[in-house]
Amino acid sequence: MFAGGNLDTKSITQPLDNESGGYLQLSSGTILTNRYQIQDVIGIGGMGSVYRARDLHFPNVVKLVAVKEMINQSPDTSVRDTIVKNFEREANILVTLNHPSIPRIFDFFTHEERSYLVMELIFGKDLEAILKSTLDPIREDQVILWAIEVCDVLEYLHTHRPEPIIFRDIKPQNLMVNQQNHIVIVDFGIAKIFKSGQKGTMIGTEGYSPPEQYRGEATFQTDIYALGATMHHLLTRRDPRLEAPFSFGDRPIRSINTNVSVELDSIITKALCYKPEDRFQFVTEMKMALIALAQKTGALSKVASGKLVIQEQIVKPVWTFKCEDEIRGSATVEANTVYVGAYDNNLYAVDAAKGQFKWKHAVDGGVISKPLFTNGNLYFGSEDGKLYAIQAANGKKLWDYQTEGPIRCSPKMAEGHIFIGSDDFNFYAINTSTYQKSWFIHTEGAVRSTPFLTSDLIYFGTEGNEFICADYRGQVKWRFWAKRPITSSPIVADGIVYFSSVDSNLYALDARTGWVIWRFRMAKGSVTNPLCVEGNIIIGSADGFLYCVEKSSAREVWRFKSEHQVSGSPLLYNDGLYFGAADGSFYCVDQKTGRQRWKFITGGAITGTPVGMNDLIYIGSTDMELYAFTA
């Protein structure tokens, strides 16, 4: 045993380390009360650190303990005294507890503004760390076994004499799994003790705490709810701290993880009821339900195998049109005609309703550029390095402009100029009446990103990792550097420019100054163009997802998992999102929910952006076909 009055608090023998964390952390080697030698910091909390320390009362063996520190820097002395008193009272309760899932308390003492609790060191990992170390949800049978152990220790606490103890802060971070795969609850009550207890300020951990806890009430049902919330998190990997409080009903476990049994789902649902009286009345009831479920594991596995099968709608194209080589770019529709370039060196004009050939215009290289239609003329670039101007009615050539490298960029027009980038590292402004360049900007890489034009500024990215904002005189206003190429074509909305990069980020920059407002990180790079839909940005990535991200906050609204890299950019038509992937799949996804409506498999990768007109959606594929689908 230890004695509170016998503390030699003057023996902090080493200077305090002032470097980390905003408060003074004890440096390793520091000896507390002539007994506990600090070795390392093993955790950091809001009030201080948790250290691993050696107990020097056992000189011949290495006995390790955990030392939890609470730094009390309230300027008000009466508040400070209350906090210390609460700490010591709670430590006195902890010391009387005896359960395999509760760490033993060896000692506590206070020195100036710091109080310390010395306890059993648990070798293991907490559930939050375990969840972080894998990408999958925790298996159902494992969750059941851990939950039974948590119920067991809660049962012990809830029936404690003379006063029942409510833990109040069950969450993955406070549940350790030791080396024998048994649960130990840590951070015991400490968080609670240091709260002032003032009405209106008592809060547990947002997400895991039930509604009544916000009103300052704590009952047996408080812990039952938090255990349910923890199990929900383990089985779904959806962190409740990131969701609205009490919103578990909005994301049923089995809608996220179909492997979870109906029985377990209903136990957790009951634990998570909004009203305390609708939950299990005693933790013993919940434990019995979990044990009963664990006993019939045979039945359990049968239920788990029932995978949810989404029936795919069968979709057929209205018509197809075959070119002589791959279509890698995007089509343009105008006046009942689809114009599309192919790698057979032709630009094709095809009847938009029936898919019949109208004319083709041959050039000296493949055409990936999306043709620009304006005033009866078409403008497009080619692998042969030229920008072409032809008549849209019959495909007759008007003029061309030669650059020094292949053109993979699509032209844009404003102020009597065509703006286009080339693989010769230049971005050109070409006068449409003299067919001469007015100016060019030399960049650090090929310019394949299609420019976005506002009333006074021009935006584009380069393969040299740079993003450029220029004015109509060709003066660069600002530059931004990504870590990898920017092939994506930018869009500007409400004073912010959005684009993605091969460096895996979707960027939002202030359009005037280039300041980074936010970054949204994807698992792999992106070469697709962002799409602005209401308050959201839609973007595809090589990680296989199409993401929907809130414009103002970069918060993910939903993500759709395709079966391959999302290589094509999305189109919004009515309320459907249309886009292609590198495995040849062409998807239609609901814009609000990100759920798949249908999928059609073409014979080659899709790298272009679809275009829609009169309820038809047009997309080209590297299988050489141009497809028309009903929207």
Partner: protein, 301 residues
Amino acid sequence: MWSFLKNLFKEKSPKKVVETPIHTTPLSEDQLEGVSKASVQIRPPQFIIGTGQSVGMQRDHNEDTLFTFSSVLGEGTNDLPFGICIIADGMGGHKNGEIASGVAVRVISKFLINKVYLRFLELHHEPMEESIQETIQHAVSEAQRAVLRYAPGGGTTLTCALMLGEQITVAHVGDSRGYFIYADGRIQKITKDHSLVQRMIEIGEITEFEAQSHPQKNVLLRALGQNDPVRPDVQTFQFPKGGYLLLCTDGLWGLVSDNDIYRIVTSNPDESKACHELIELANSNGGPDNVSVILCSSRGM
């Protein structure tokens, strides 16, 4: 064109505005330009900020803290107005409440001035490693750490707006509020209360009306110093053209209606006077709590 704009402006007499319902059809950009104060071309672009604060009629001390900062660097081509507005409502009932709001506001404003503003004044500034949203998140974490350290047990709401040119990034925790007031008469709440009653309204447990008199209407779901780690809502908006940003504590929004806010803000040519009038009205409606308000308009943007 000019006379047309002037006529349009004159027709909007203040009295008429009072009768205008809050939800009207948004005006087009051109129309907005016509009715906005910026119709006189002000150069360089700048933020004009007024503030007001009162202990209220029933409390004996103030637990609110506010901070504002506005700067202009005009050099012709790349003018960039910069501004910070922060409001915090301390709670806890004992001394640590007022300490918490003061600590949070000092730490966050110092952090933003150091990390963003002073960097912007450097002769050769390197691009920022962090995004604006990451920086403001970081600032809130620092404030959180300071509150836990210097005001343990205390807590505070925090609504902080960082304005760079026409982009305004807001970090928000608790039940103080931010509003945009547009030149065409719309009022838009841009923050969400992290309160128990707000959550109960969302899940249909109570109605908006019941919330106003709910016994737990002061219970917060999130506050600085109370949940660790703290998770602020961080959002970026475009500053309303010819309009205002208003930040206030619950001592104002609980007592002054949106209609009155709109009327007072648009009928006062001076931001500080408008703040004063708003506070007078809150106090004459009972003034049960401390009141703090910040009103910011942008000119020349």
